[in-house]
């Protein structure tokens, strides 16, 4: 596939890695939004997934491990005319960046967040991630994962996230469609993407996901929060994909924050007269 968003940055992923179809889905989705490159910012943390923005010809902020969301939020606050998309790993967003995940869902900035959920730390070579299945043995947890898994969709629904979806790397069209909806959603939109890591996760493979995943039926009522929560906990027997939950009535952070808006911060002036007025408030004069 070649398109307007291609870059010539060399691909550093393993052959067969689930990040490749996710990249294609991202490019497809961005193309479909019709937005020009200069208005899009891809933000990521650190990990294999977090390298994705380098392969898309848009504005890129590839920050620290776990810290994509704070940067993304601030970019939106500084310039709400930019379309901000976070695309990063499960370790990055749910593990190292867990606190930002929780609090930014509470804030509800207009950001689409794509989590490449391979249930493993790929870049650091195979340690369990917050979403690893209990009992799975990765490096560092040699007798198997003891902690219960972090349920990202359940957490997001519990916190009132207005767009909660699950995609699957293997189905580019389907996932790209979710991405388009997530970008269009006004507010924090989460798309957790089942992503095979062919090198370090020999359990949750293309085949495994293929067998477990099922598309939500057309009559699924995404407005039903309780039902969505129930679905978000399904994992052992089968895994729902599609838009689990959606509500459009919640205003986004940028709308509620009194200072955010036009003009963007880089274009705001500091008139000397306004500074003088401010200083005058500290000037003590007798009435």
């Amino acid at each position: 596939m070649s398109g307007i968003f291609d870059t010539d940055v060399e691909n550093a992923w393993c052959p067969g890695c689930g990040n490749v179809p996710i990249l294609n889905a991202v490019k497809k989705a961005l193309e479909r939004t019709g937005k020009p490159k200069h208005e899009i910012v891809l933000v990521s943390g650190i990990g294999q997934a977090a390298k994705l923005p380098h392969h898309v010809d848009v504005n890129v902020f590839n920050g620290l491990h776990g810290r994509a969301l704070p940067a993304a939020l601030a970019i939106r606050m500084a310039n709400p005319s930019l379309t901000v998309v976070v695309t990063s790993g499960d370790g990055d967003i749910y593990g190292e960046g867990g606190n930002h995940f929780v609090h930014n869902i509470r804030r509800n900035p207009d950001i689409a967040v794509f989590v490449h959920d391979n249930q493993v730390y790929g870049l650091t070579k195979g340690q369990p991630s917050p979403t690893s299945d209990p009992g799975w043995t990765g490096s560092l947890q040699r007798s198997g994962v003891i902690s219960g898994p972090f349920p990202p969709l359940a957490v997001a629904i519990a916190l009132g996230c207005g767009f909660v979806a699950r995609g699957i790397a293997a189905d580019i069209e389907f996932t790209a469609d979710l991405m388009v909806q997530a970008i269009a959603h006004k507010g924090f939109a989460l798309v957790d993407i089942l992503q095979p890591c062919v090198t370090f996760n020999k359990k949750n493979t293309y085949q495994w996901y293929g067998k477990m995943a099922y598309k939500l039926p057309a009559d699924h009522d995404a407005a039903d929060r309780v039902r969505a929560f129930e679905l978000s906990l399904e994992w052992e027997e089968r895994i729902p994909i599609g838009v689990l939950y959606r509500r459009e009535d919640r205003p986004c952070f940028e709308e509620l924050h009194p200072g955010v808006g036009d003009p963007p911060l880089h274009a705001r002036e500091t008139p000397p007269d306004a500074v003088r007025d401010l200083l005058r408030k500290r000037l003590f004069t007798l009435p």
Binding site: P70, N99, P272, T285, L286, P287
Partner: protein
């Protein structure tokens, strides 16, 4: 030497210590005098022992005094703790039931503060009754008190305050000595502000448009100020979920073209350290205001210290240039906060404003001329001024001569801005090419060398050579200056050097100064002499020693002068 009256209001949290202290500051300025006010408070919301000290002189005052001449004690239970710090000819005004401990002391004047407060129509005006008594002792006319109260209160409550102050003043007639009366002087309009407020104003005047933080004393005061005073000038403020988020957010905003800052204390800064290194790597301009307090760990939350000097100089993994400024007065807090905003953007480096609880909470009157509306020089480039590769793509980290690459921001047609915390090529994409690595390291270091050319020189006062040199950074400036005067008056020829910039370090200037004095002491609110070590590292010269104070309180001039005499 003229008048020098030190007043201390004491009471529990919630008893109006701060209000009465602030009122006395304004009364001093209304009478044409100058003051220096400091607070000492405990880390609690109610009760405890807090104090607000106001030292009044005919010349601008830049240091406090431990001994009080007039004490207004709002809690009689504090009396046993107070008397040792009252000067021999001083007075203590206190609502004292007859026969209480301390009443035998001839300096104690029992005053019916609560009773008059009730007569004024409110149970919470004992502090204002007391302020009325103190104003009377200072010889401030009741009309002046009335006028100043008009600035602080409104409506019915204003009236009650006026009555309370007047009841106090009338009662004091003939009951307080005349020895503290201030001479009459002409009023001049002055700025009245604390170190934290000045820093906030400087940052806003410097074009700060994005501020974020997580509360931690004494950084919280800066956040409060930014959130209150910033929005009218277009600043956007947000409370972060933690300090890690705070600095990453500021860097995100900076990437989008906003002048951005955070404020915190040592513990919060510790959490920001990785992001500081990110700013170094992304070449993102950002300002960190760090109000120091004693550590380690939570330490003494509401007290002062200078223990983070070594920390801020080396904080952040990897090698990258930084600017560290250390204001020594409210005037410098204003000027250097503005300077930080300008320099941080000019060299695309993180800048740390190193202050402490003492400077943060110190209130003085200052010359309005020291608070100019300085220009804001934005350096964002557009269109044809943007460096590009052969394919026309923007090179965010283009290899420019002095290492400073022209900075564009996302949102402009024809430009995409790519930054990465990994080592990167000129276009911002990650690389593991060793030759590029070397070139990028050199580019970042070159920026530091350019930054060094603009180092603010140390400020020397006193004789150009001689016996003793006192060296300090940050908030000790005023205390050292007065200690120097005391020493000189006592026949010890002493000079003082104040460092308002510690990184890049003004090594040559400090070396040259050091060579001219027989002995040199650093003056530091820490135990281990961090500035002395820094001077050794940067100049290869050993100072004679360090005069340190690390109990959580600021130095005072007499104590410092005594320390110098003992060590000389």
């Amino acid at each position: 030497m003229g008048i020098d009256v030190n007043i201390r209001i004491m009471g529990g949290a919630g008893q109006g210590v701060h209000t009465a202290g602030g009122l006395l500051c304004r009364l001093a300025v209304a009478g044409g005098h100058h003051f220096h006010a400091t607070q000492d408070y405990m880390s609690r919301i109610r009760g405890g022992r807090n104090s607000y000290s106001v030292r009044i002189r005919e010349i601008p005052v830049r240091a406090g005094r431990p001994q009080a001449d007039i004490v207004l004690s709002l809690d009689p239970g504090h009396l046993p703790h107070i008397l040792s710090s009252v000067s021999p000819a001083g007075i203590v005004v206190c609502d004292l039931p007859a026969g209480e401990a301390g009443s035998a002391d001839s300096r104690v004047i029992a005053a019916p503060l609560k009773e008059f407060s009730a007569s004024a129509g409110s149970p919470i005006l004992a502090n204002i009754v007391g302020a009325g008594i103190v104003a009377r002792a200072l010889g401030i006319p009741p009309e002046t008190v009335d006028r100043v109260l008009t600035l602080e209160f409104k409506g019915d409550f204003l009236e009650k305050n006026r009555v309370a102050a007047r009841l106090g003043a009338e009662w004091a007639q003939g009951r307080v000595p005349d020895s503290f009366r201030l001479p009459e002087r002409a009023f001049r309009a002055r700025m009245i502000l604390a170190g934290n407020e000045a820093l906030v104003l400087g940052a806003i005047a410097g074009g700060c448009k994005f501020a974020v933080g997580y509360p931690m004393t004494p950084g919280s005061g800066i956040l409060l100020g930014l959130s209150a005073d910033g929005p009218p000038l277009g600043l956007v403020f947000e409370q972060a979920e933690d300090e890690i988020a705070a600095l990453n957010m500021a860097i995100g905003a900076s990437y989008a073209g906003a002048r951005a800052m955070v404020a915190t204390s040592g513990g919060g800064f510790a959490l920001m350290v990785e992001a500081l290194s990110l700013a170094g790597m992304l070449e993102a301009p950002v300002v960190v205001a760090l109000g120091m307090r004693p550590g380690p760990a939570t330490g003494m939350p509401t007290r002062t210290g200078q223990e983070e000097l070594a920390f801020v100089l080396s904080a952040g993994h990897g090698e990258f240039p930084r600017l560290v400024l250390s204001p020594g007065s409210v005037e410098e807090a204003y000027a250097l906060a503005h300077h930080a905003m300008e320099m941080s953007e000019a060299y695309q480096v993180p800048c740390i404003l190193l202050t402490d609880q003492y400077l943060a909470d110190t209130v003085v009157d200052a010359d309005p001329g020291d608070f100019p509306a300085l220009p804001v020089n934005r350096r964002i480039v557009h269109g044809n001024d943007v460096p590009r590769d052969a394919k026309g793509r923007y090179l965010r980290h283009a290899f420019a001569g002095d290492g400073v690459s022209p900075m564009a921001v996302p949102g402009e047609p024809g430009i995409t801005v790519v930054v990465d915390s990994d080592e990167h090529t000129e276009d911002g994409h990650l690389t593991e090419d060793h030759a590029v690595r070397i070139a990028m390291v050199e580019k970042r270091i070159r920026k530091g060398e350019a930054l060094e050319m603009e180092t603010l020189p140390p400020l020397l006062s006193g004789p150009p050579d001689g016996e003793v040199l006192l060296i300090g950074f940050g908030s000790t400036k005023g205390v050292i200056a007065e200690a120097r005067e005391i020493l000189s008056a006592g026949g010890v020829s002493a000079a003082a050097v104040h460092l308002r910039q510690v990184a890049p370090f003004p090594a040559r200037a400090v070396s040259e100064i050091l060579d001219r004095y027989r002995t040199a002491f650093t003056v530091e609110n820490n135990r281990t002499g961090q500035l002395a070590r820094l001077i050794r590292a940067e100049t290869g010269r050993e100072v004679s020693g360090t005069i340190s104070r690390f109990d959580g309180l600021p130095f005072t001039p007499e104590e410092l002068a005594r320390g110098v005499k003992e060590r000389r």
